[in-house]
């Protein structure tokens, strides 16, 4: 569904992404992992067309993302930091996005109701806590039932109840055969959610494997231990890219 070839991006001398080749299929829940500054957000933003790559191509359903912006109607994006105009109310933000997406008339408001966003619709964005803003971002990402969900640190800043609710929502979307691409530093949050792991370091792809394969190779079951083992030892799988 998403095909990335030879993607390279550098900021001045710093290589944020170095010759990345990846392919993501429907029904997969892919976790992008890596230390701070490893290029996770740059990769996500390249897919969204927010960052313009120097080299390489990104194709979604065989259409290059650089040619046309209509592919973005297939994507629901939840940014790492959601900031909205101060004096807009939650309701206005949601209505605005709905008005912008006239192509879509069926809305998925499960999260809006589940997270209680509908009850605080007239609050202005300025008065919201970071977590509540995060909830609004989550609602917007799922609003149009997109085929691809790109979630940048989705559970960061959410309370445990909301975080669980969001995870359940992600699982239910996955069961509908959608592609979910997410980053998180809290590996326990990704437990039971993720099917594949992409590990980036210094802009280079270290490995892209399914969780089962990684568990087999490392002999560990917990996700954080699996990843830690992968990082400690120079396992033969490390440089393999599927």
């Amino acid at each position: 569904m998403i095909q990335i070839n030879n993607l390279t991006k550098s900021y001045n001398r710093f290589k944020a992404l170095d010759d990345i080749n990846l392919g993501f299929d429907r029904g997969r829940a892919i976790s992008l992992l890596g230390p701070n500054g490893s290029g996770k957000t740059t990769l996500i933003k390249s897919i969204l067309g927010l960052v313009i790559p120097e080299k390489g191509t990104i194709k979604i359903d065989c259409n290059p993302v650089s040619s046309d912006c209509s592919y973005r109607s297939m994507i629901g994006y939840m940014p790492q930091i959601g900031r909205y105009p101060d004096n807009m109310t939650i309701e206005q933000v949601i209505n605005m996005v709905k008005e912008l997406r006239k192509d879509c008339t069926k809305y998925d408001d499960e999260l809006i109701i589940g997270l209680g966003i509908d009850k605080i619709g007239n609050k202005t964005m300025r008065n919201l806590s970071g977590g509540t803003r995060q909830k609004v971002s989550a609602c917007l990402a799922f609003l149009f039932s997109p085929e691809i969900l790109i979630l940048d640190e989705p559970t960061a800043g959410l309370d445990p109840v909301s975080s669980e609710l969001l995870k359940e929502k992600i699982i239910s979307e996955l069961s509908k055969g959608k592609l979910v691409l997410m980053t998180s530093h809290v590996l326990s949050d990704l437990e039971g959610l993720t099917s594949h792991i992409v590990y980036l370091q210094d802009g280079k792809l270290m490995f892209y494997r399914s969780v089962e394969e990684l568990q087999d190779v490392t002999g560990e079951t917990k996700l954080n231990k699996v990843v830690a083992r992968m990082m400690q030892y120079d396992l033969p799988i490390k440089n393999c890219v599927s």
Partner: protein, 255 residues
């Protein structure tokens, strides 16, 4: 695009800075226009206030606003909307509210308290300066990655056009006073939107002598109709060129 403009201006019309700006302009306009029976004097003072504050406030407020909206712009760009549309919609929403502030703060008192054509020229001038300096702010936002540096550049640009440029121009005039430099100066003045709008006003008010050397020069060189058209055309360039460069550069900007 209309949707974004609508929501951006709805947000900004409730912005405290815009409200204070409007109120401040209104208080200044009413007090200045009531101070003397001669409306021309009032207009002249109001012109000076406009030339000093409108560029500074427009460029500073707009720069800060654009940099603060970066996450919001990202969110909009994650929707199937073209980059340029998002950028221009943000710009339009912003200038609509800044222009509304000027129109209410200065335009209304002018309409009520004076009956001169020059009042209309002052209003148009203020609006054009708002458009120009918001456009420059947009360009700063597109070219700069860092907010603090962007605000610094915005301050330098507004000081350059309101203070430094005239100083440099005068130095140029004095240094080359032995040569026929009248025409080059007309060309040079076009490089400063604040000077252009001063000329537009002076040609209306017939008080160019009050404004010193460059004002008198303009009165002599440009007369009225031709001078006004020249100044307006140059001002239009000042509105459109920064916008054009900003939209071109924004295509390749990393967010």
């Amino acid at each position: 695009m209309k949707t974004i403009i609508k929501y951006v201006s709805l947000d900004l019309l409730r912005n405290k800075t815009i409200l204070i700006y409007t109120a401040l302009l209104a208080v200044i306009s009413i007090s200045v226009l009531n101070m003397d029976n001669n409306a021309s004097k009032g207009l002249l003072s109001l012109m000076n206030i406009t030339l000093l504050f409108v560029p500074l406030i427009s460029i500073l407020f707009a720069t800060i606003y654009f940099f603060n909206s970066i996450e919001f712009i990202e969110l909009l760009l994650a929707q199937p909307i073209k980059r340029n549309k998002v950028l221009l919609a943000e710009y339009t929403g912003l200038v609509l509210s800044l222009c509304a502030a000027y129109a209410i703060g200065v335009g209304l008192p002018l309409l009520i308290l004076t009956k001169q054509v020059a009042a209309l020229v002052l209003l148009v001038n203020g609006l054009l300066l708002t458009l120009t300096f918001s456009g420059l702010a947009l360009l700063i936002f597109v070219l700069c990655k860092d907010k603090t540096r962007g605000i610094g550049i915005a301050i330098v640009i507004s000081l350059f056009f309101s203070l430094l440029f005239d100083g440099l121009l005068l130095t140029f005039i004095y240094s080359f006073s032995d040569y026929p430099i009248d025409k080059p100066i007309v060309g040079l003045v076009a490089l400063n939107p604040i000077d252009l709008s001063r000329i537009l006003m002076l040609l209306q008010l017939d008080v160019s002598v009050l404004m010193g050397y460059s004002g008198a020069l303009f009165k002599k060189l440009l007369g009225s109709a031709a001078g006004s058209i020249y100044a307006v055309v140059c001002m239009m360039f000042w509105v459109t060129v920064p916008l054009l460069i900003a939209t071109l550069k924004f295509r390749k900007k990393d967010l």
